[in-house]
Symmetry: C2
Subunit: 452 residues, 2 copies
């Protein structure tokens, strides 16, 4: 059971779960509580600086559910804890997820209280997968929702993900890049995301490259020799001096000069981008674009765009990678039905809506007007957002191509009212109602609980 060399564990992801899931299943099996349960995964309320969320992570959820197995090593470990019955260990050894999943497609804008997905499965199955499902949907929805704001702020300019070095671990490094691409960024510097998801990859150069050369001009010359259409990093010593070195290189190379841009990574980006633009234009290099990076988030980008900074592309790292202003969501995965009966809880501030649900999005003239959360089989005006994506443990369709997910996300975001798509808190917020039928059901279940 060595850790060394097991950089990212793979085979035992079934153990990416909370201990209590297994103790509860042990008790369920002892009591014969194996009837159908419905669990709903949703975000209770949006963070202050989010007018909408972008649902993301479903593809990994389905892969997980299809592949979830307990290895002999995992079972040996569980046995070693001396907590579980032989019945449970046998059940885990034979486990194959056999439930259904109903979900909104990846890239769908969602709001507080709306299910991102619902699992319908024998109770122990649905309970078992809680932790891993949330672990994957949470980070990806956090990231896609943040990236959507950055794409909005960039207002059509290119956005590149530079965040992997400060993203939380290898798995997040890959999945945040994908989520940000779903939300509309253009490419990533992360090669593993490129390999795994076929995302476009991009990059420039680092300060170290400049530092190891005797002069900056020599560094630029060497890099442009191998990568003629590169973007040169100009702020290692003095930003405008760096820009002048790029101009000097263009003089030196003449028609062979094909450098596409300069990157500014520090200082006052508004002022420096204007001066850099002026220096480049005066040197007859209007086609050399300005690329900005270094501590960017949606607020900084929006200000630069508003003030007319001549910046063509933004490299965004940490702020997007950890969703600095809202690193977590109040996301829950809650039992809402068991054995055909709606279930809720009454914990302070954490009330639930019972049963399988549907969300209807009402639209008029190509604009979403509001959502209604309803009982799953109600027929209400509007477009239903949830559909079945897994039956009996098998996907009902192959994974959607990433570019199609991205295009869908873009189209769905464009349907939102303009006041919801901005960075500032929307007033009024997007309207989300509970249908009369669902509200009555909730009240009836609550009244019954209070009578006991």
């Amino acid at each position: 059971m060595t850790v060394a060399g097991r950089w990212v564990d793979d085979g035992n992801v079934a153990l990416l779960t909370d201990l209590y899931e297994l103790t509860m299943i042990d008790a369920y099996l002892a009591e014969g509580l194996e009837e159908e349960a419905v669990f709903s995964l949703f975000v209770r309320r949006l963070p202050r600086r989010r007018n909408y969320l972008v649902a993301c992570g479903l593809d990994d959820v389905l892969s997980l559910l299809e592949g979830l197995r307990f290895t002999p090593e995992a079972l040996d470990y569980l046995r070693s804890l001396r907590l579980f019955s032989p019945r449970l260990l046998d059940w885990l050894a034979a486990f194959r997820f056999a439930g259904d999943v109903h979900a909104v497609p990846e890239g769908t804008p969602v709001f507080g209280g709306e299910p991102l997905l619902e699992v319908v499965a024998p109770l122990p199955h649905a309970q078992l997968v809680e932790t891993a499902l949330m672990n994957q949907v949470h980070v990806q929805t956090v990231a896609a929702s943040k990236a959507a704001r950055i794409v909005t702020a960039a207002a059509g300019r290119t956005v590149v993900d530079f965040g992997v070095r400060r993203m939380p671990g290898a798995d997040a490094g890959i999945k945040v890049a994908r989520a940000a691409y779903v939300a509309g960024i253009d490419s990533t510097s992360n090669l593993l995301a490129g390999l795994l998801h076929g995302m476009p990859v991009a990059g420039t150069m680092a300060h170290s490259f400049v530092q190891v050369h005797a002069t900056q001009l020599e560094a630029f010359r060497a890099f442009a020799r191998i990568y003629p259409r590169t973007i040169l990093l100009v702020d290692t010593y003095d930003t405008l001096g760096g820009v002048r070195d790029v101009v000097a290189l263009s003089r030196e190379l003449g028609p062979a000069f094909q450098v596409r841009g300069v990157r500014l990574d520090s200082g006052d980006l508004l002022e420096l981008s204007r001066e850099a633009r002026r220096v480049l234009d005066e040197a007859g290099l209007p086609h050399v674009a300005i690329f900005a990076s270094g501590g960017l988030d949606e607020d900084v980008i929006a200000r630069l765009v508003r003030e007319g900074a001549p910046i063509a592309a933004f490299g965004v790292g940490t702020a997007m990678g950890v969703s600095e202003d809202a690193p977590s969501l109040d996301m829950a995965y809650k039992l809402v039905s068991y054995a055909g009966r709606g279930r809720i809880k009454l914990s302070t501030g954490k009330a639930l809506l019972p049963g399988r649900k549907q969300v209807f999005r009402r639209e008029r003239d190509g604009r979403a007007e509001g959502d209604v959360i309803a009982v799953h089989d109600e027929a209400l005006p509007g477009r239903p957002l949830l559909s079945v994506v897994m039956r009996g443990g098998t996907r009902v369709a192959p994974p959607t191509r990433l570019d199609a997910v991205r295009a869908y996300a873009r189209a769905e975001r464009d349907l939102l009212p303009p006041r919801i798509r901005v960075l500032e808190p929307a007033d009024p917020a997007y309207p989300v109602e509970v249908s009369a039928t669902l509200a009555a059901w909730r009240d009836a279940v609550a009244a019954e609980l209070l009578r006991r």
Copy 2:
């Protein structure tokens, strides 16, 4: 190149890197720039709410460096990008990390500007590993530093990590749990962390367990039958009603009642813990402890402790898992020496100290008084914190046992002045100086750069 089923990728972690690392290496090889480089990994400045950081992640760094290989699949992918020379691809195919690493032990308190580790290797080797090293050290240092605050706030009471469901991905789920344990928490609910790191695991029960039973008392009875020494979750419907059901169960079971505690997961935890304590004490159950969870962070815990809430243990999830108040650090991995000459950059706000370094921690009467960052071979008063941990690509010692790392972290934290170990911003901050020799070297390198 399918993603489905590849839940967490393992074999291609060598591609967990930024594209520009490879383009730069391609240029280094073309130019023959393969002399010895020193890169320093450090945090520029501490977040406002951190008086110190707890260095963490070194063990994974060393495992990564020992095992880093480019698979045929990775090389095929890189070839498909049509960016790289055959020289680079051959070099990557044969790559084995051949450098040295000097580092502070995991669990060491560190401050702004101090190296957590330094890599000494042929330039392309040291450049190649930048992204993955930061990706691992960043998240683990963020997590250990946050967890240390939570342990401080709990003031000796038990702290359990409940965070995996909202941690960013599978890798973070495992590594944040480990980092928090290094920083002093007692156990985790995360079984995969338990398997991989031999950490103690713990857990209680979830609301769903209560919800699927006809009554709460029936749920408690069923769970206690299988897990007599369990902790029962009491807030599903009404917290004090839940506590009274626990009392009812104790009457029912008589001497067979062995339940160790009740868990409160919502509401006013101060008020509810007092009332729950009173109900339990009046029922002759003073040994049934109160466990609190639900939105806890160090501030909430400190307030509960200060007001004397009768809570024996805290379950902490999201706030610790994503380090809500400081989810990222201004961490950098920067070239500081090449071919025997100190290198820096002058970018605004991002100045560097040249060369390999040492940090001396001055202590008096068992109390750290301040640090001096010095040139690596200076002999100054105080205890040197960095030592060689890898030579020529091989660890100089087997990994330290996790419990030993945790004990070291505790002892080192106890050496810090009391004003640094509190939650509030320390005034004055912990003193960190640059040695006269290192300052003079930095100034000389800067002057030389400015002369060019």
